[in-house]
């Protein structure tokens, strides 16, 4: 009998992280890290997991969008689906009615991402490989076929993509060996949340350096004097270790330029999200004005067309892909290939719930089979919520250890799902601390 998708189970999973102000930044003072979680199941009993990450309110809207994609997956032949995930992507992202809700952006696009990632997870599990290795071993033509080039050809043709992948075959097995031995570089955002006091900032910064991370990152953008003070504390704690700063879209273009230049003496390695993620020309203007401080963005850049333009306009030094924001593994393949063509480093956004678990695979694949280098590359690391995953990331000497278990790493522990189901789970039995009143005060 044909193996079909028989199960499509969603869950609203929220972690009450706002109670401790983990994850606080200029625009997210009180996030409750959440997953609009998806499990697909086949008649043979195989499973695949995916999710969209949100920061609390609206996780139910995100779930409704994933549910809207259910009819395009359930009942389908598994072999047919996972042997041509480019066609699946086209059907999800291009549905003639649902595309009005985007197109290819926001809630409906993150829903497509969750579904596509769950199918890549299914494919990797059936192959018995971690995603990074599955991707590295797929024929180049199959990878290229997974990409929608409709709006990308003026920056990257299928032939150019194929060429990049073919060239990277040189030395691939050596790089796999190196990766398995040494892991992949990481940086940490753990010390730098706005809600932490000076002692905690200094202590966590020093620990990050001692632990071997390649960079620490500090949230900035609420108060310039405060930022200078906090950067001073961090700089004293880490010496010449790179310090990235992250404004989380707090500024307009001119304000970004002035503010970042006001922090120049602390030699930030990059300024992340200086302004609206939609403002390609704005990022280009900021980059011209703050050089040699690098410009990084991407966690809110909604699709490959936007990344294409950031590259075409020379608006960024660092591309920050996100595993769940754009249309899944498929669209991230396109972004990795474009970044390589334009010679720009990819340093993924992570943290949140499970973003580290997922995105590490994409960077490892990039190193092994696309860019062929770790030069200037690091994956963000935040030490939140990993304990809830069946295959949590492992950090050793400030680097991500290459996963060897099959899949993309998105599976939550069943107990964690039950505990954090919103609003019925035990974690939500006690009401969250009163906080709405503070949002306005601190710029949220």
């Amino acid at each position: 009998m044909t193996n079909r998708i028989t199960g499509f189970h969603t869950a609203d999973v929220r972690f009450p992280t706002s109670r401790h102000r983990d994850g606080s930044d200029a625009l997210n003072p009180f996030p409750d890290y959440s997953a609009a979680y998806l499990q697909v199941e086949t008649s043979d009993g195989d499973r695949g997991y995916g999710f969209a990450f949100t920061v609390g309110r609206g996780n139910d809207v995100q779930l409704a969008a994933i549910e809207a994609l259910r009819p395009m997956v359930v009942g389908r032949d598994v072999e047919e689906l996972i042997s041509d995930l480019g066609a699946v992507s086209a059907s999800l992202v291009g549905d003639s009615q649902l595309r009005w809700l985007g197109p290819a952006k926001g809630v409906i696009h993150m829903a497509a991402s969750a579904v596509l990632n769950s199918l890549w997870d299914l494919k990797a599990r059936r192959a018995g490989l971690p995603l990074w290795r599955l991707l590295a071993e797929l024929p180049a033509a199959e990878l290229v076929k997974a990409i929608d080039f409709r709006y990308l050809r003026d920056a990257l043709t299928p032939a150019e993509a194929l060429d990049i992948l073919e060239r990277a075959k040189d030395g691939k097995s050596e790089r796999i060996g190196t990766l398995l031995a040494n892991g992949f570089p990481a940086y940490t955002t753990t010390p730098g949340w706005l809600g932490y006091d000076d002692e905690k900032l200094a202590r966590l910064s020093a620990e990050a350096k001692r632990d071997g991370f390649g960079m620490i990152k500090l949230k900035v953008g609420l108060d310039l004097d405060e930022d200078r003070r906090r950067l001073g504390i961090a700089r004293a704690a880490v010496g010449d270790l790179p310090i990235g700063i992250d404004a989380n879209q707090a500024w307009g273009v001119d304000e970004a330029i002035e503010w970042v230049n006001g922090l120049r003496e602390y030699e930030p390695y990059w300024i992340e999200e200086p302004t609206s993620p939609d403002d390609i020309l704005g990022h280009a203007a900021v980059r011209r004005a703050v050089s040699p401080i690098r410009v990084a963005t991407g966690e809110h850049v909604h699709n490959a067309v936007m990344f294409k333009q950031l590259l075409q306009a020379q608006a960024v030094d660092v591309v920050q892909i996100d595993a769940c924001r754009v249309g899944g593994v498929n669209e991230n393949l396109a972004i990795l290939l474009m970044a390589t063509k334009f010679g720009v480093a990819v340093c993924p956004h992570a943290g949140g719930v499970g973003l580290c678990e997922l995105v590490q695979h994409l960077s490892m694949f990039d190193y092994v089979a696309v860019s062929g280098t770790t030069e200037g590359r690091m994956v963000e690391y935040v030490d939140h919520l990993h304990e809830h995953f069946v295959d949590p990331v492992v950090i050793r000497d400030g680097r991500y250890v290459a996963p060897t278990t099959p899949g993309i790493g998105a599976q939550l522990r069943p107990e964690s799902v039950a505990e954090h189901l919103y609003p019925s789970g035990p974690a939500w039995a006690s009401p969250p601390v009163a906080r709405e009143g503070f949002d306005a005060l601190i710029g949220g």
Copy 2:
């Protein structure tokens, strides 16, 4: 007792337009025009109406997003809300958790639009004025205060906005008189849907010219030879009347250039949506390559930051605002002001369900109190579904008659809502014609 928002009622209203292929284009072969409909109510018994427009599937997701905004409106003091709609906009668009779902794009932004528009409707009704007139008579400072300039200042400062509005006071009352006497220019898309046969195309094109419309518009982008043939039929039917063409995002950048230049002999007035609505640099490239054919876009341009860049990059000749896509009246104010500053004509997108009813107000306000001219300006008109509105648009001699009834025009007739409630309404009792199989065939 304080007058508060006490009611927030939503409804999933869908019209089975796909049964007749009204509204068919290159990427929307079978739309079911729909409204995620909202009625707010005050303790004094006043009402305001708004909606987000979708094309069928996903209208439930859109409704879920509107519901997510309920707590930010219900219980609030009405005077406080409608006297500072800029603050309301900031709270809806900037909510520190919900903004992750955008920010300012897709489902969650269209939800903000529905809520803001319902409050502008409430404000206009309480003032006893149609929206265009309410806006034209508000103090310039209040209009400027309604706008979020955070990411716009590099293109338009509050002082520049104020200056544009102050300068337009000159001649305003004469223009109000002219508008009330002559209406506002319109063009029609009625003849040009892809699903119509040649006879219907020729007949409706000739009728449009006879009826006095300023332009007709044809859908293109599925087959170049077909487009040439259909443009030939339309050109023969209308003589030298302008013909716009609309690709609905069918092409990549290079393909757009080649295709449009292949239609040059029919002298199209503009090419609309030649490529992805996100591709600012792509539109600029197309514009440089197809001149003097104008480039128009906007119905899927998701916020003012994107419009800002289309103007900065000289990527468009025509800005096509949509009443429900961006963040309501507030964000459209910003776009109108930027377009005036950059000297670019605004020709709104309309059609769908109720988009004509809403957006006419914005163009009339633009003429009366912002740009001060109708030169090169037209509002799209499609003769679908107006009968379902309490205050349907009135077209006379190919022009929109200025509405005089209070509000923004978003109120559906209660019988129409009941008839078209999805999925329980009588209109959905008979299943829609089988059509999914055809989507793939014709590019959907």
